[in-house]
């Protein structure tokens, strides 16, 4: 494998990692705050892509400006799902039951999308989807640069919200001890609802970038969920920074192995890397204890 091919694979892994971080951020946030594993995350990514498609094709609103509409819409969806389904789960078996509940949500969303759009593949288009910039002999695709930039900006914003604001302190307090948080006057239900809303809202951005880089139909979300879960577990469940680091780590390993050896072995190697990392750090790269203490 030449040095150029190696560098190409590393760059590709980093840029693609940004896109996956965008899709995984909501998953890790919802788990961190609620102890809920959102199996519907993949389908929600696809829903975000369809919302962008609807705005760009039927209303002529570009993909980036369209986020000003899709993000609030997805926030409302997250709030509704939390209010209607997640809030009703009992504390003691919330994590296990959440898998079933969110799977049901995924099926409902998928069914609605299939009824509206059918199973034909779609892809988002914009002038920057196929263009690239030439830097040091490498062509860097604009859409991946945009995705990476959005990932960094959003993850910083989320990090700031969670760890540097009064609301973030309320979120972490209600996570650590719901009763104690209640006693000091925190409206735990409200905090949780908003957190899920934010987690799902972020997914709108991931959906837009995914839809611009991949053809999708209502079933595509299921292919994503295993990789997103691997990212969240490796990064440390609940860790925003961990989601970014793990996305880049996994995608760089994937792309380098694919180029150097074989694409068939790439997922095996990164899942092996996942097992090795978790053997030494069961809490993930940015463990949960550390996440909650920040």
């Amino acid at each position: 494998m030449s040095g150029t091919a190696f560098l190409e694979a590393v760059i590709d892994g980093i840029l693609t990692g940004g896109v996956y971080a965008l899709m995984a951020a909501g998953l890790t946030l919802i788990f961190g705050v609620m102890d809920i594993i959102n199996i519907a995350q993949g389908v929600m990514v696809i829903l975000g892509a369809y919302l962008s498609l609807e705005l760009s094709v039927h209303l002529g609103i570009g993909l980036l400006p369209g986020l000003l509409i899709t993000v609030p819409l997805m926030f409302c969806l997250g709030v509704s799902v939390e209010f209607l389904f997640m809030r009703r789960l009992r504390d003691q078996d919330r994590t296990q039951m959440s898998i079933l509940v969110t799977y049901a949500v995924a099926i409902v969303i998928e069914g609605i999308l299939t009824a509206i759009y059918g199973v034909n593949y779609q892809q988002l288009s914009a002038s920057y989807v196929n263009s690239s910039v030439h830097v040091f002999g490498f062509y860097l695709p604009d859409i991946y640069l945009i995705g990476f930039g959005l990932a960094v900006a959003l993850l910083i914003a989320l990090y700031y919200m969670l760890y540097r604001t009064k609301f973030g302190r309320a979120v972490r307090a209600s996570l650590q001890n719901r009763t104690a948080a209640d006693l000091i006057g925190i409206d735990v239900n409200r905090v949780r609802t908003i957190s899920v809303g934010v987690g799902v809202a972020v997914t709108a951005v991931g959906g837009m970038v995914f839809g611009a880089t991949n053809a999708f139909n209502p079933n595509t979300g299921y292919d994503l969920i295993s990789r997103l879960l691997a990212i969240v577990i490796l990064g440390g469940m609940g860790s925003i920074a961990g989601a970014m680091a793990a996305s880049v780590f996994i995608l760089v390993i994937n792309d380098v192995v694919a180029a150097w050896w074989s694409p068939t072995w790439a997922p095996i190697v990164y899942f092996a890397a996942l097992v090795i990392v978790l053997s030494f750090r069961p809490q993930g790269l940015f463990g949960r204890a550390a996440v909650r203490a920040q």
Binding site: D12, G118, P141, A215, N219, A258, A266
Partner: protein, 419 residues
């Protein structure tokens, strides 16, 4: 004590033996019931044909097109009096593109629903497990998209594919490339394919022809079917800059992802062929971006403009029912329609629904008719009566270009620049 123990063990043996006999009798009874049921159909009562289709999951676009093909055929056949006077009723269930679910579905269709006939599911991947179930019940399984070698090398005696065996799909294209003057012929080629029994057998056959013609292989790789991101392998192809790219793909997203990376990397091969995806009409054009489809090849056995009376009638009916134009009709529709046609001819010729008689007839070497052209099965169930055609996108239309013929659209070579 010893006596008691021997009595006890004897009793256990007796009970076990009785249970075993009961299970065997139930199994034999169940299967003979299914076989007997399939042959006896009350006069004028509907005949039910079961099919498991991928109405969701990875093959959903193809599954839906297949369902439409089956429905069109059933409607036409019913207008013509059904099957031996019995109106046809379709019993379609979804397997969600899962090789596990497809087994359950055929157990249901044959074992529980007692459907008199069955159609194969979509894809080689799903047909192998499905055909094993059908074989246990002595059912014939005729399909339109199950032509991978694994189907015919599995020792199954009941499976048939009305389309061209997939291993020969790229032969026409490879022969045409090899026939180009040396100065025009591509010097290098990359062969990349998804790990799938439909695509993998096709590439080595084409590679052997092209190697013989002096086309050097610069890259040959297989990538997993579960991939959600193709940029790494597509970038590798772009970096290798081969003159010819042969992509083993099963769907639109794979070809679209490679196309986008090629455009982003300012790499334009002289020729680009994908085994599946470009045949999906406007879906494909939308996914790669209008204009970028221009010059991309795809092998197939049929296209919307195919000049055959029953094919043109089917296309007209399809367009009337689902909209679009002849060029947007998916080849899956014709494959499914052909399955119905072939099975109907077998039923008519054998004057009944007995599966063994149908299987024997299909293997008798008779040439049957389908909207895709002639069908003549060998002993393995492969249709060797047709030749693969190669299509190319030109000015927004998917045209048949190879084999070349006078008065027919000429292949666009080298491929025009990306839009």
């Amino acid at each position: 004590m010893r006596v008691l123990r021997s009595v006890k063990s004897g009793g256990v043996l007796l009970i076990s033996g009785a249970l075993l006999c009961a299970v065997m009798l139930a199994w034999v009874g169940n299967h003979s019931n299914a076989s007997a049921h399939q042959a006896r159909v009350a006069s004028g009562s509907p005949i039910t044909i079961g099919a498991s289709l991928s109405l969701s999951g990875d093959f959903s676009a193809d599954g839906v097109a297949f369902e439409r093909g089956y429905e069109l055929w059933a409607a036409d056949q019913n207008k013509a009096g059904g099957l031996l006077g019995h109106p046809i009723k379709l019993d379609v269930v979804s397997d969600a593109s899962s090789a596990t679910q497809v087994v359950t579905n055929y157990e249901k269709l044959i074992g529980s629903d007692k459907d008199q006939l069955v159609f194969a599911p979509f894809s080689t991947l799903l047909t192998v497990p499905a055909a094993r179930v059908a074989e246990r019940y002595n059912y014939a399984m005729v399909g339109g998209a199950d032509g991978g070698p694994t189907v015919f090398s599995s020792g199954l005696k009941n499976v048939f594919d009305v389309s061209i065996p997939v291993k020969n799909n790229l032969v026409t294209f490879a022969d045409w490339i090899a026939s180009l003057p040396a100065s025009k012929r591509p010097k290098t080629a990359a062969y990349v394919t998804v790990n799938d029994p439909f695509t993998q057998p096709q590439l080595p056959v084409a590679q052997a022809i092209l190697k013989k013609a002096g086309v050097k292989t610069v890259l040959s790789k297989v990538f997993p079917a579960e991939a959600t991101d193709y940029s790494a392998i597509a970038n590798e192809v772009a970096t290798a800059k081969p003159d010819l790219v042969v992509l083993g793909s099963v769907d639109v997203p794979t070809v679209a992802a490679f196309t986008h990376v090629f455009v982003q990397q300012h790499y334009n091969p002289k020729a680009f062929i994908a085994t599946s995806g470009p045949d999906q009409g406007q879906q494909f054009v939308g996914a790669v971006g209008a204009g970028n489809e221009n010059g991309i090849f795809v092998p197939n056995g049929w296209y919307g403009g195919f000049k055959k009376a029953d094919s043109q009638k089917m296309v007209a009916e399809y367009v009337k029912k689902y909209g679009g134009s002849a060029s947007t009709v998916n080849a899956d529709v014709a494959e499914a329609y052909s399955v119905g046609q072939v099975l109907a001819q077998a039923v008519k010729a054998t004057h009944g629904f007995d599966q063994q008689t149908i299987i024997k007839y299909l293997k008798s070497g008779k040439t049957l008719n389908s909207v895709q052209g002639p069908v003549k099965f060998n002993q393995l169930g492969e249709n060797l009566a047709q030749k693969t055609l190669t299509f190319q996108w030109q000015n927004g239309q998917l045209d048949q270009v190879i084999p070349t013929a006078s008065g027919q659209t000429k292949p666009l070579y080298p491929k025009p620049a990306w839009k």
